[in-house]
Structure formats: structure tokens, C-alpha cells
């Protein structure tokens, strides 16, 4: 680091982007002021930009539709990991943490909780608010349970909005064959009441923040 980056203004950074990125070749602050707005690519062939990326056909010609067959995941629930974990997002935290976390979304969703069907909770002695350990053959984490009819029996759910929860510590390395998109929806897990003296990742983070203040 410490590389000399001496720009007289943002317009010079735009000029550098234009010089190094073919699809931005025709973009400058002066051109943006003149046009109001330009949609990339802005090139010699499209000096005013490209409002619609593909007209009539794609670069390769017609779109290429590929038949794909259904190949089930190799992940299996077992006697040791009898439940399936699905992770996902909720509306009130939709990726704000992956951006800046400068908004007050924690007001609605202060920590990730594990939703579990009443029957699955009952046989494990779990009530809403209990600290539970969520474990898979990959890893384990600790979070609070929320007994919920929203879940089908056999499936548990949590969000991954708070990195301290470590939902991705539990999920497998499996991914989609074509895009390498991780298989965050299917992980065989077990859930059990955690030792009472343990604190959740969210509580640990709050405690550390309080200590710093």
C-alpha cells in the first residue's frame, strides 16, 4: 500500500477507469454532464451508451438454452444429523450488513435465531429463547431458538445477517456445478440445548462493544 495516487479530482479517476475498461471507454465527467446519463457500454460503436444491452440477438447470436437434468445433492440427513438446515435472508436485514450496516436494521432483527418446528423442539427439550448448539459434520455454532409453526418438521432455518452467528461455519462446501453458487439451503444438522454458561455470538459481540465504550 502507500502507492502514489495523486488525482486532481474524481474526474481523473473516471478518466482512468475509461482508459483501462473497454466498456467505459467513452465515459468522462464532461460527457456525463452533456448527456445527463449514459448506460454502459459506451464505446466508439455506441458513443451515447447502450440503453438496451442486447437488441435482436446476443453477442453469440440467438440465446443458447441448455437442458439440465436434476442431480440431487450428495448431502444426506443421518441418525447423527437428522435435521436439514436452510439458511436465508429476511426482509428487514436484506444484506445491509454486507454493505455498510449504517442503517438501524438491528432494531427489527438484532440477532440471528434458529427457527424449529414444535415437534422437533419438544423431543429435544427446546423452548423459544433457549440457547442451542447447531452442529453439522462441518462445524458448530450457538444461537437462540425460536419454536415456530412456520417450519416443516425436520427442517430448521436461520439467517446469516450477523457474522458473529457463524451460520456459514455449519454449511457444507457443496456448490452448484455451473455457477459454483454455494449450497446454503441443504445441510444435515443436529440441534441441542447448549450449556447454560455459553453466550451467543451476538451476546459476545455486544459485550465486547460495551467493553470498548
Amino acid at each position: 500500500m502507500g502507492f502514489a495516487m495523486e488525482y486532481a479530482g474524481a474526474h481523473e479517476i473516471m478518466d482512468e477507469i475509461a482508459a483501462t475498461t473497454p466498456t467505459f471507454a467513452g465515459v468522462s465527467f464532461a460527457r456525463l454532464d452533456a448527456e445527463g446519463s449514459m448506460q454502459w457500454p459506451v464505446t466508439d460503436a455506441a458513443p451515447h451508451g447502450t440503453p438496451t444491452m442486447h437488441v435482436g440477438e446476443f453477442v453469440r447470436g440467438k440465446g443458447h438454452l441448455v437442458e439440465t437434468v436434476y442431480v440431487p445433492t450428495t448431502e444426506r440427513s443421518t441418525r447423527r444429523y437428522p435435521l436439514i438446515l436452510t439458511t436465508g435472508r429476511i426482509l428487514t436485514q436484506y444484506n445491509v450488513g454486507a454493505q455498510t450496516r449504517r442503517t438501524a436494521n438491528n432494531t427489527w432483527h438484532p440477532e440471528d435465531v434458529l427457527e424449529i418446528h414444535p415437534a422437533d423442539a419438544e423431543v429435544r427439550g427446546i423452548s423459544t429463547g433457549d440457547l442451542v448448539e447447531l452442529s453439522s459434520r462441518i462445524g458448530a455454532t450457538t444461537l437462540r431458538a425460536e419454536v415456530s409453526e412456520r417450519m416443516p418438521a425436520g427442517v430448521v432455518y436461520t439467517t446469516f445477517h450477523h457474522p458473529v452467528t457463524g451460520a456459514n461455519v455449519v454449511t457444507t462446501e457443496n456448490s452448484d456445478w455451473a455457477t459454483n453458487c454455494p449450497e446454503y439451503k441443504v445441510t444435515a444438522v443436529e440441534v441441542g440445548v447448549a450449556n447454560a454458561h455459553l453466550e451467543t455470538g451476538a451476546e459476545a459481540a455486544r459485550r465486547e462493544l460495551a467493553g470498548q465504550a
Binding site: 446476443f58 453477442v59 453469440r60 437434468v69 462446501e173 456448490s175 452448484d176 456445478w177 455451473a178 459454483n180
Partner: protein, 84 residues
């Protein structure tokens, strides 16, 4: 359970996706996919790992590796990304 090398795991996943096709066509489709979408270093590593005696490698993946072109991959379709 011993974790597979990522190149073998991903290669096996791709092989399974084409397993319903006649073997020669499947091998060529798998090879083409890897040539187009894997980084050169991953392609070279897969070739190194492609040991016919290794039971963890899908035989179809081995066949595909024998079809792979390691240099001069046609990048035409990758040069103009469609955004997103």
C-alpha cells in the same frame, strides 16, 4: 471423511450433470465447460490430480480431462459480459 481436493469435487459435480449423455459427448461437454469457466491454474491442477487409479475421481471426469485443451481456449463469449 477425507475432504476431496476442490478441483476433484467440482469436477465430479460437473461430470454428474452430464452423466445422462452418451459418454463421448458427455466428456466433451464437461471438458468444454471446464476450459471456458475455470481459471488456468485450476485446470492445470485438475490435470495433475487426474490419476486413473484414484477411486475418488469420476471415470467420466477422467475421460473429460483427456479431451481438455489447456491452451488457446476460445474466450469470445467471455469477453463481453452481459452485466449483472
Amino acid at each position: 471423511m477425507i475432504a476431496l481436493a476442490p478441483e476433484v469435487r467440482l469436477g465430479n459435480d460437473i461430470a454428474r450433470q452430464f452423466a445422462h449423455l452418451p459418454e463421448r459427448e458427455a466428456a466433451e461437454r464437461i471438458a468444454t465447460h471446464i476450459e471456458k469457466f475455470w481459471a488456468p491454474r485450476m485446470r492445470r491442477r485438475l490435470v495433475e490430480l487426474a490419476d486413473p487409479a484414484d477411486p475418488d475421481l469420476d471415470p467420466l471426469l477422467l475421460h473429460a480431462v483427456s479431451c481438455m485443451v489447456l491452451d488457446d481456449v476460445d474466450q469470445t463469449e467471455l469477453r463481453f459480459p452481459s452485466g449483472g
